[in-house]
């Protein structure tokens, strides 16, 4: 309600009720009408909504059966908004989805990362494990000997990406992180570095531009 048109503000939304010898104050008193409080009519209304969706989808299924019988199942209108995941993928997946990580590389293929632990510190899931080492090149000085991401613990918040001072860690849009083996869901340094730049560029989008190489 526009307060300019209605300068009189509504009553403060609370209700006092004296029950069982005590004063109860309800902060959000129910604003249901009597009809709504009868419950059964509203329940029926709700059931009619869900029921109609049920019948609509069953009808669509019959339509699909018709298409399927003619071998054109793919063209049938779909009731479901979900997909059969591994076989199908959603065509409307957002281009800024946060998925699998990569470590960006220097020109010689070494990690950009300087093992500063900022990502490990920022990570709310504590799923980044780094061991730092002394790099032979004194200009680089520090680099990750080990860099493990437990992708099964990761919540894809992107904090690591944001915390990194040298743009060494990126989240791609690739969301196929599922696996049957936990061991395979720990991505080590070499795996994180093993992304193929051309493929990644074609298939996945980097929010904020291309990853820096070198």
């Amino acid at each position: 309600m526009n307060p300019l048109l209605n300068p009189k503000l509504p009553e403060p939304a609370y209700k006092e009720e004296f029950t069982a010898g005590r004063l109860f104050t309800y902060r959000n008193p129910s604003d249901l009408t009597l009809w709504e409080r009868l419950y059964v009519p509203e329940v029926l209304r709700g059931l009619s909504i869900t029921g109609s969706i049920f019948f609509k989808n069953m009808g669509l299924w019959l339509v699909w059966l018709g298409y399927w019988a003619r071998g054109r199942a793919n063209e049938a209108p779909r009731g479901a908004v979900t997909v059969y995941y591994p076989e199908e993928e959603r065509p409307d997946m957002t281009k800024v989805n946060r998925g699998k990580h990569i470590l960006t590389q220097r020109l010689n293929g070494e990690p950009q990362c300087v093992a500063c632990y900022m990502c490990a510190t920022a990570c709310p899931a504590w799923c980044i494990h780094i061991d730092a080492g002394e790099h032979p090149d004194p200009a680089i000085e520090k680099y990750p000997v080990r860099f493990d991401i437990e992708i099964d613990k990761c919540i894809f918040c992107g904090y690591c990406e944001e915390a990194c001072p040298v743009d060494a860690i990126r989240l791609t849009t690739d969301y196929h992180t599922v696996d049957y083996l936990r061991e395979r869901m720990v991505y080590d340094r070499d795996y994180l570095l093993s992304w193929n730049p051309t493929k990644v560029q074609q298939e996945h989008v980097y929010p904020g531009g291309e990853p820096r190489r070198g």
């Binding site: 300087v114 500063c116 900022m118 510190t121 730092a132 080492g133 004194p138 000085e141 520090k142 001072p165």
Partner: protein, 539 residues
């Protein structure tokens, strides 16, 4: 005794009374007005070169540096006026002109004074448009210290340390202006035994310890007050540890013991924790051979001692000089009172270490000989008790039937070393060993019980000057290993002796141990932005 003269002055509108000669900076600390500073260090002579600690004093012609200004009666000091803040911001800007700001790879990040003060007093972007001045990086000052010239803010703390504390004069500043650089005099390397302290006092990450470099980010560390068992000075230290592993040892200020410093041997003392450990009990008694649970081993010890009790004259107990006062107290009570043996003495557990010097290190490489003796682990002269040498002689003669050895290093007391030890112990019917090291005695003993290392237990230590310090348990002992206090209290109970308590806090009242302040449980992650991450009050 002469009366200490005091002066009263006003700082930020609050009256404060301090001894005459106190600097304004120290006086401000009293009322909690923290004056930022880089080059001032309470353990070093005042230099006043960083200009960060400038305050306003009424009547002064221009704001003076508070570290070099002595308090005077009636002084009116202001530490947080707009002018002071502007000066601090300018100093910060100036210090940061050529600073590389490579905090991501700098080990000091998280406990760096430059970082903290930047967040508190500056928070501006750099105005510099030119290339920063480059200086030598990764200069090895010695095997222990690496120097990064770009990060150095030329506070000269390190120089003053070598001049005034160790008096070895290795470091000096060469060149002027933005070319100035700390260098080791004559191109040599640092050669004193206290060099790790320069990395501690360096307010920035210019000096780093090779030992700690890149091991751990400081905000992951947990801090536990402890002592260094390297020598009988018993320097008060903080153990910085994470994931049940000590990563570094830092000195803890204790004016009467070690001041602000500690030696390099102490820095490495944590490396001894994992070496040569006795991890599981061993029992070699007839009918009880083979592996034993801690419970069974304790039972075996009680059995052996119960037997030995019948002839107290033929029982001898040798205590560890690494044990705590509380353990020594229980040891003395168990053997002196309950088992009534006259033969008790303390041995040296360790004889490795630096030679004595006039800074901190003493000749005795055991932290608590004085304390163990003070708790009554001495031969009972009235009953003809034997000292350590006497006990060993008696063993050799076969006069001792049961020998209890607490702690490693007994072979060091025999000229023939291990082979002689085997000979001596073969004459003793029952040898019981109690200790954290897999010592030769542990291999020869009939029962050997593992105990925790010093970092794995609570206890107090009395140093060579008779000053008691308390060490708090920082690590979990290996699984199944119980502390001496518990073991001795259990034996006391099994042998029907008096109970004196089975925790450190119960026994501390009896030994007069200073109780450590209960530190709040460490936050899972300590935020490091605006506080010293170490949580340790640093000068």
């Amino acid at each position: 005794m002469s009366e200490i003269k005091t002066v009263t002055l006003t700082i930020d509108g609050r009256q404060v009374t301090v001894p005459a000669g106190t600097s304004v900076l120290e006086a401000s600390k009293v009322i909690g007005a923290e004056v930022p500073h880089f080059c001032y260090h309470p353990g070093l002579p005042v230099d006043g070169n960083c200009r960060m600690c400038i305050v306003e004093i009424d009547g002064a012609r221009r704001p003076p540096v508070s570290c070099a200004t002595s308090c005077a009666d009636g002084m009116v000091v202001r530490t947080d006026t707009a002018a002071v803040k502007a000066i601090r911001a300018s100093v910060m800007e100036f210090l940061l002109v050529n600073h590389p700001i490579d905090c991501p790879i700098c080990d000091k990040a998280g406990e760096c004074m430059l970082q903290d003060y930047y967040m508190q007093h500056d928070r501006k972007r750099s105005e510099l448009r030119d290339e920063k001045v480059h200086k030598p990086r990764l200069v090895k000052f010695s095997d222990r210290i690496v120097f990064n010239g770009e990060r150095c803010i030329l506070c000269t703390r390190c120089v003053r340390f070598t001049e005034n504390v160790t008096r070895t004069h290795e470091l000096g500043i060469v060149n002027r202006g933005d070319r100035a650089l700390v260098e080791v005099a004559g191109g040599g390397s640092l050669h004193n035994r206290y060099q790790d302290n320069v990395a501690d006092i360096c307010p920035v990450g210019a000096l780093t310890k090779t030992d700690f470099r890149f091991k751990k980010r400081v905000w992951f560390l947990k801090h536990t007050d402890s002592i260094c068992p390297g020598c009988s000075r018993g320097c008060n230290v903080v153990l910085d540890h994470d994931k049940n592993e000590v990563v570094r040892v830092m000195p803890r200020f204790r004016a009467e013991v070690n001041g602000h410093w500690m030696c390099d041997e102490g820095r490495d003392i944590h490396k001894r924790i994992g070496v040569d450990r006795l991890l599981a009990p061993r029992v070699k008694l007839p009918g009880r051979e083979g592996g034993a649970t801690p419970e069974e081993a304790l039972e075996a010890v009680a059995e052996v001692l119960g037997e030995a009790r019948k002839t107290p004259d033929r029982l001898a107990a040798i205590a560890s000089s690494w044990g705590t006062n509380e353990e020594a107290f229980l040891f003395a009570k168990l053997f002196g009172e309950t088992l009534r043996t006259p033969h008790m003495d303390v041995k040296s557990d360790s004889d490795e270490g630096y030679p004595e010097d006039d800074v901190l290190h003493t000749a005795d490489h055991n932290p608590n000989r004085a304390g163990v003796v003070a708790q009554g682990v001495v031969p009972n002269d009235k009953k003809g008790g034997l000292g350590l040498a006497g006990i060993l002689d008696a063993c050799r003669r076969g006069d001792i039937q049961c020998l209890v050895v607490w702690g490693p290093g007994l072979s060091g007391h025999l000229p023939g070393g291990e082979s002689e030890l085997a000979l001596v112990l073969s004459k003793v019917a029952r040898v019981v060993y109690l200790g954290w090291k897999d010592d030769p005695v542990a291999r020869l003993a009939h029962v050997a019980l593992p105990t925790p290392a010093w970092a794995e237990k609570d206890g107090s230590y009395t140093n060579c000057d008779g000053i008691k310090s308390t060490s708090v348990r920082a690590l979990d002992p290996p699984p199944g290993v119980r502390g001496e206090i518990e073991v001795l209290a259990d034996l006391q109970a099994r042998l029907k002796g008096r109970s004196y308590g089975r925790t450190f806090r119960e026994l501390a009242a009896k030994t007069g141990a200073p109780l450590p302040p209960r530190r709040p449980a460490p936050a899972l992650r300590q935020p490091s932005l605006y506080r010293h991450a170490s949580g340790v009050a640093r000068p």
